[in-house]
């Protein structure tokens, strides 16, 4: 038993962080906010070439062959750096293609040739495994060729062209593109049933993004508390600030520990993988939202300007808290086990 990442594991994360920091600096979010896609084709290619989309895929499927732990550590950096782009849906999309045996599609996705956006079905929309019908939202699909619809029971990839009538809607997050579409019996390109493991992996990766956000906010608040002076002293001497930072550290520590636990449970193929993943998600959502909101307060007036980064974390946290299952969905995953078995 070891829940402390090794130097090798940390160096993978470090490499990803440096790549994202270099290719997708946070200023880009504001600069590109009126562009059609949240990430440029060039940056996407560079990230794909680095192997970022193939980290957790088996070498036999054209991947790098790391585990979910490494993938989660990489996605934590995506969260921390607020990197834009459909990374999660592309990574899971490639895995779905691999499970379906479509090696050509796997290659196209992980090489960056084909991007995969996310389908978020609205209440009332249905997908029976063969066709999807009803209102859906498309998340970061403006540069995508494919769309991923993910559910524990059945998941599928659709052709973006089947949703050609989608209309853009301003997202709260300048780094996320949103569209609204109505599907009438749209058939997928590929579908797999019993996709609980695929789902749980996506849950873990979303938890990783949220954990990264919470850590970035903890660090930003701590730095500000050390440097910003009021009444002649750094504001971090005040317990109102110091204790808030301490609580942020506590939420992040819980999120990070449970993230590693859940990812390791995935790699160990534990029977409780999905359960641990939902717990990771619940704890990470709380950490991300709570820390991102607190981070604005710690920064005072500067914290709610558009020029400062603080609001970007709040927005990204709110976005991810609603993708790949909501808080109530994941609490139900814990509750229902309570309600049914002891």
């Amino acid at each position: 038993m070891d829940l402390l990442p090794s130097d090798e594991e940390l160096s993978i994360a470090q490499t990803v962080a440096e790549l994202l920091h270099r290719e997708l600096p946070r200023e880009l979010l504001r600069e590109r906010q009126n562009e059609q896609t949240s990430i440029s084709a060039e940056a996407w290619s560079i990230c794909a070439e680095s192997g970022l989309l193939a980290l957790g895929l088996a070498e036999g499927s054209g991947g790098v062959g790391f585990g979910l732990v490494e993938e989660a550590l990489a996605f934590r950096e995506i969260g921390r750096e607020l990197a834009p782009g459909p990374f999660l849906s592309s990574v899971i999309g490639a895995r779905l293609a691999a499970e379906a045996g479509d090696t050509e599609l796997v290659r196209a996705i992980v090489s960056g040739d084909r991007q995969v956006g996310l389908i978020l079905p609205r209440a009332g929309a249905t997908f029976d495994g063969s066709v999807v019908t009803g209102e859906v939202e498309l998340v970061d699909a403006t540069g995508s060729d494919l769309l991923l619809l993910l559910r524990p029971d059945v998941s599928a990839l659709f052709d973006r062209a089947s949703f050609a009538s989608a209309l853009p809607w301003q997202s709260i997050d300048p780094g996320v593109r949103l569209e609204v579409a109505t599907a009438v019996g749209v058939e997928p390109v590929l579908a797999v049933v019993d996709s609980a493991e695929l789902w749980a992996r996506a849950v873990v990766l979303s938890s990783a993004i949220l954990t990264g956000i919470s850590e970035a906010c903890r660090d930003a608040s701590t730095t500000h508390a050390k440097t910003r002076e009021q009444f002649g002293r750094p504001i971090g001497v005040n317990q109102a600030i110091k204790h808030r930072c301490a609580d942020m550290a506590m939420y992040s520590e819980a999120a990070s520990a449970q993230l590693l636990y859940a990812a390791a449970a995935g790699d160990a193929e534990s029977a409780d993988f999905g359960y641990q993943a939902s717990i990771a998600r619940v704890v990470a959502s709380r950490a991300a939202i709570s820390n991102a909101e607190a981070n604005i307060q710690v920064h005072g007036g500067m914290g709610y300007t558009y020029e400062h980064d603080a609001h970007l974390y709040v927005k990204r946290a709110r976005v991810w808290a609603n993708l790949i299952g909501s808080r109530t969905f994941h609490l139900s995953a814990v509750i229902d086990e309570i309600r049914v078995a002891a």
Partner: protein, 391 residues
Amino acid sequence: MVDLTFSREQNEFRDEVRTWLAENAPTRTRPHDYAEIREYDLSWQRTQYAGGWAGISWPVEFGGKGLSVIEQMIWYEEYGRAGLPGMDATFVGLNHAGPTLMSRASDEQKSKHLPPILRGEVIWCQGFSEPGSGSDLASLSTRAIIDGDDLVVNGQKIWTSFAHLADWQELLVRTDRTGGKHHGISWVICDIHSPGIEVRAIKTMDGEAEFAEVFYDDVRIPLANVVGELNQGWGVAMSTLAFERGTAFTASQVRLASLVEELVEIARTRTGPDGKRAAIADDEVARRLGMARAEVAALRAMTYVGISRSEKTGTPGSEGSIVKLYYTELHKQVAQLAMDLLGSDGLRFVSRWMNNGWTGEYLASFSLSIGGGTSEIQRNIIGERVLGLPR
């Protein structure tokens, strides 16, 4: 004596206000464009003035109606209930600069500046905060040197609401650096169009640009524009801040109450977290909404207590900080509840100027616990001035 009933005169007053607002309030939606806002807000103020409704609790000698804070509160309640837009641009003049001038300015200053505020001719903005000062307002460093009959001002202010629409600014400058930080500050009337002033809009996280930075480069302000004594501006400023905590945000509270009712409506019609029943059928959602409803009711009761205290003692007292803190935190909670209720609809940005502008409302709510004294500062004030805890 504790009594909820309003007097016959007050009830008649309320009826009159309601009738007048129904007949005279602007029907056109408040514009989103800031240049148009100036004209909209001033025009609406002129209508109020013409109707005899401007300055309910302003003394008659300054053109007001000379009524009590209860009538003033009734006005704000009815104003809020009528769903009228916030009087944001005229707020500082009516509730902040105006009252300060009344209590501290010279007769000449009063007669020059007070009437145009009520008549809807001018917009005032504030010039207190600085990038380096923040919560430590008294550490301000924008400095003014006496040169003949003028002050020459150099420095920078920040978080000035509507500076780009304003005519006048209530400006705090440092005129003496030799004493303690609360000494040597002067409160001056600044013509915002003076040469050497540059106003830059600040875009906030909700995409709006209500705030601005103001830069001063050798700006000349006549010494005659100093209100109160030179170097005694801190006391003048503090008298204004206390005013902020009176009836002035009754309208915001009424608006918050109606936001809660809007949320109830959403919870009735929108599918809840289980994807099947209406959200209101969910026990947790229902109780959170119930609690929010209870809290806005308690907030109204607290405001009534504060106004009763103002009636009796002439000032809302430091207890006003309790109401500010409670309102602020409650408003933020309501906005967070809305985000939880919206679920994935919370990904869509909708400006709070629009119908169902909940995401905009949420993003705007962050400013509440920072502007006008952070919640931390309010808790310090409550701890030290209300409870008497040591500094």
